[in-house]
């Protein structure tokens, strides 16, 4: 069991890190919501704060005073169990509460939480109950998830502004892969999948460690590079309907897709908007910001396929990962024996287990200590604003 003071440090570091991510922003950047999937940074700051207020302070801290009675309404998210949600689409229309007020809210809740936790732990007879510890850990990891979303949402906000402002010169989103490409071969047989659930934190969707039977397969040690993806584009891959799912082809046509998100062809030369600003396309960097549909079409063109999430998990110790969320062929489904936790916390994962694909690994935007080999990320097949990439299997 993690010691309380370690937990408190973890909590405070996480709170601080969220605010560090926002340091390069101007106040105006906190407010806008250009598409429904992207939330205003201000909202992320408030929502992660509301989580601790709603699930720890309100039920557990004696005489806790809400910071503002309307904030639960404004910063609640998808939790049907906790009051009427704000339609997600509206977040970008709310100029108030202002940014300063949201930071006050953060500070207030952080302080209240710290006092509450230290107080409990100082009192040797009661310490923090396992139930509160569990919710606290979920809250911390919830905030870490939003740290990644903050980064990708900021990228979207700035990268879709006609002035293309940079975010931070020190953010290297395009790390190179040094190894030579080779195929890792895995033998047919029974393998174990899922989290071992001992000391380390994990989400409920990783639990239920169980056996799966895999066939012989090969998986690449490297992610697909921009150079390779450019070959696909130049070979007219976006036009060759034989490579695409019917649904993917409709998506390509309706949205006039002809390259990954953030690519700009400027006078015949490919550029990419990055968190450092607009740059010439780095051919050796792993391709990013592609939908599942594009990832699939690319594999078809290479006469390969995407790995399943099980193949990925079994093979992952043999390659480097963590710079791109890797689309898998696996649909996001419950593991054997999965059941939703009761109440609002139970809405966290289970209710999204339909019509989404699992992504494995992590990305340059993933918060430190937030991902692991059993982590199951998931998104709809058309989404591109995350740092998504491709690893081939066959």
């Amino acid at each position: 069991m993690i010691a309380t003071h370690t937990l408190v440090s973890f909590f405070l570091e996480t709170r601080q890190h969220t605010e560090n991510i926002c340091k390069p922003l101007e106040i105006e950047d906190y407010v806008v919501q250009p598409i429904v999937d992207v939330s205003p940074p201000k909202w992320h700051l408030g929502h992660t704060t509301w989580f601790f207020e709603e699930f720890i302070l309100k039920p557990h801290k004696p005489n806790y005073q809400l910071f503002h009675e309307d904030f639960a309404f404004v910063f609640n998210s998808y939790y049907e169990n906790v009051g009427k949600r704000v339609v997600r689409n509206d977040r970008g229309n709310l100029s108030r509460p202002g940014v300063a007020k949201v930071y006050d809210y953060r500070q207030y809740v952080t302080n209240e939480m710290r006092d509450f936790l230290l107080n409990l732990s100082a009192n040797s007879e009661e310490d923090i109950s396992p139930e509160i510890k569990e919710v606290l850990l979920i809250g911390i990891h919830h905030e870490k998830q939003h740290q990644e979303l903050l980064t990708t949402d900021i990228k979207y906000i700035l990268g879709n502004n006609p002035l293309l402002p940079k975010y931070d010169d020190s953010f290297n989103e395009n790390p190179l892969q040094n190894a030579q490409q080779k195929w890792i071969e895995i033998k047919e047989g029974i393998y174990e999948i899922g989290h071992k659930n001992l000391e380390e934190f994990c989400y409920d969707n990783e639990l239920g460690r169980h056996k799966v039977y895999l066939q012989d397969y090969k998986i690449s040690n490297k992610l697909v590079t921009n150079a390779k993806y450019l070959e696909f584009i130049n070979a007219n891959g976006y036009k060759d309907f034989n490579l695409w799912h019917a649904e993917g082809l409709d998506w390509v046509k309706q949205n006039n897709i002809s390259a990954p998100m953030y690519w700009h062809n400027i006078e015949g030369e490919w550029h990419q908007y990055t968190l450092k600003g607009l740059q010439k396309l780095n051919l050796e960097a792993p391709v990013s910001h592609i939908s599942y549909y594009e990832a699939f079409a690319f594999t078809q063109w290479k006469e390969c396929r995407l790995p399943t999430e099980f193949e990925w998990e079994v093979a992952q110790q043999n390659f480097e990962w963590g710079s791109r969320w890797e689309w898998t062929e696996s649909a996001y489904l419950p593991y054997p024996g999965y059941t939703k936790a009761p109440g609002a916390i139970g809405e966290y994962n289970g209710k999204f287990m339909v019509n989404q694909k699992v992504l494995r690994g992590g990305s340059v935007a993933t918060s430190p200590k937030h991902t692991r080999a059993t982590y199951r990320n998931f998104f709809q097949t058309n989404l591109r604003w995350q740092f998504t990439g491709i690893r081939l299997a066959k």
Copy 2:
């Protein structure tokens, strides 16, 4: 290898059966398309005919004269490889060619096919080539699939008409299940899945017989009845968001769903539109015309789950099936080693392998000899106009 004369009989019987399905229709019923998923009966008649003309007569019969040069345009479907398709949504706007003309087209192609096949087979030196046999079999099974769609589309057209006309008094869509409910128990272990691919016809998506590892599970010997589903409704199941996927809940709200398709509450008493016309709801019949979302929510309410398609296939010899297409928890994905056939035939299955669910079994509308234990049907999670049902697992 199936003898040619057997194949020719199979072909002719299939062609005739399609037309038998349409016998109760008035000419006007052949024309309309009330929703995009439902095609006008006239179109099914033409499309199944065009398949034989396009893939057998045109490429293989010497000097074959097209019945009408524009019909390929009118009756082509989703085949991107064969010319510009008609947007599916427009089928219901085409009054011409008229029904009589479409029957002429059928007769012409049926006769040309028969002459072509018998001629080949009469000529002992050449007989029908395996390639043509394969396309012929696909064409016949393709037409059998459309026979089921014809039936369900006719039900939709008549069942959404304010006059609620009946289709055919002899069509019993609500067969009873005589057995007592019990749980069939299957032991953890390795099982083989997929078609054995010997003599019997199957689709490419069933091939690639392979091992899977299953955990201990139980599966019901009976389908869920209308009586049980009514309990779910009466327990306010459509309102309890904890039972639903987020996406399913949105679907319920946007479409004001509160009962299966074709249920009508008339002065407090539940009725169902059936192919025999409007009837009092038969409580002992298996529930039908529900979406995957509803099937899932019902299982949650019962604290059970849907079986995977693998669990279904392994257990199916222990229960009766065939009156409802049974939603499974499995996403529709390729089996190991699956590759699309080249050309238009290859568009048949592979390009739909995303964001759909597998259904197993068959239904009262499925054509004779068309389904089997390895058959993988698939639909989007919101669709209800097929005879879909629920089998519980846990």
Copy 3:
């Protein structure tokens, strides 16, 4: 006051004429509704019949038996005062009642009406009351309006079918204008506008004869020809935003408009779908099937304008009209003193008096004796499926 036997003849002729219009149709043509503005011919046949049943037979004929109790639901139109309307968009999904049944309905109501009217008139003491006469006249003129819609809706149904079937070889929709173009000059001053309301039938929107003050103006004696409109196209008129209303330009862009409806450029040569089938564009015929937006842009390009409806009415005795409905610059608004009649009849005109434009004249599809110099037709500014044309003023 019109004599009853004259009225009965007028009624019977009108009923017959509607059916004559449909003679060239196949049954399938009666059923489809390709766009919301176009109704299935079957619906027009039923709706014009329902009018007499609802407003004359039901309230006035003793012991009248409805032909079918559900038909009011199926064939009602926009009349909020008479029960729940069928959403207009659904008309094309109704295969039943079938065409034969609808003709039975017509025959039944026509006979019942004839008997009712002759009976009344034979009974010298009561004859037909003025109230019934008025509704009867409205019903007849209502049916004449639908005769024009039947013709234009049939043109749309056939002209948007890939087989481009012809309607009737004897229908000349492109009469030539023999006169030389000249400008008719009208002097500034006070003029009287509106119907004189003596013996002749007119709609309520023409009543309230009143004075208007007109400035000096000139109006062309001829309609704009296809040749002139082609000059506008060739001068890039559809691309020159200075010629268009902002709303019109959006409409052009969203719908990719580049020529009048029914024009087809086939290998560089302009053709037009007409009721006689596809033909080479007749350059001397008056342009037809253009929206108000296009009519306006054309006038801007010619540095002219459209006449107001008042200018048109004052000048009309000096030129030939009747082959095209002529867009005017006038918005469709009530004349001074206009009040809606009470009840359903009152919904006829008044409730459309916003965001529509007045068209004056008549067209090749207008029924005999249906239009007159004071007639105020009206449509939304984007609609093109009527035989609409342009007359210049300045």
Copy 4:
């Protein structure tokens, strides 16, 4: 001719007034765009500045340096003649340029303009040319129009925020009308309409003073009050379809309209969000924030009508006006002889002359010296975010 120094003062006062309107705002309030009709305050500040840069400084000031080369793209509006416009819908997604930068832009252009104008006027031989004076005046009045929009857009942004923040305690948007209600009677005859075009500024759409013939009419000396409008609501006016245009009724149903914008029924008591914050509904204040559809339905219920714009203009000296923009029955159409000015300035008015209604008068948000008796404001019939009201005629 206005003296140059007067013009310069007028320019500087106007620039200052715009900024005064924004004084109560927080930075976040400048950024959002909750609906397409409402622009972010930041955009208004930039757009009114861009107008002077684009049409005066760029073409006329020697060696003028653009403040930022991309700002024309960001702050251009509907002017098709001046480069590619930003789709209006996107304005609310732009966090950059930030508010401070936009104020820098304002300051820069204001200073450059002042220097340019004073320099010209100091140079006795050239002074400001009439052409520049005209554009300058248009620019100033253009900014005054945006001052009104700024106010109404700010009201929308704050009034649709769940916290309902107030704007400014000193802004009285609900002035009372002291007079007793009476009917002003105007006699039938010829009247002159339009601006006299001497010294006073006016827009091109007011020019072309011309005669119209009016019938006898009566017009109320007072605007309809909230009390009267509440009677309409309580009499079920929103449900009585006989009162509404067909299009208006669709609008009511689709948008669930049951009261003016900004009305809130809180525990049975009507409140109104005002620029002073939420307040109890002032029954004696003139009703505001209603659409044309609602204004029309109210007049029907009162068995009256709206005045035409001509009736309003002729009668206006007999009553007080200026607190509400008054919907008229007149469609927004060109006066006789109207022609668009060439180039971008010509896009100002003419291209909106379709499917909009004229509003006369002015409102509590109208800038000082910006309206006059001949001023023709215009909006689409569904819009409510302006301070719109109702004056009865009959």
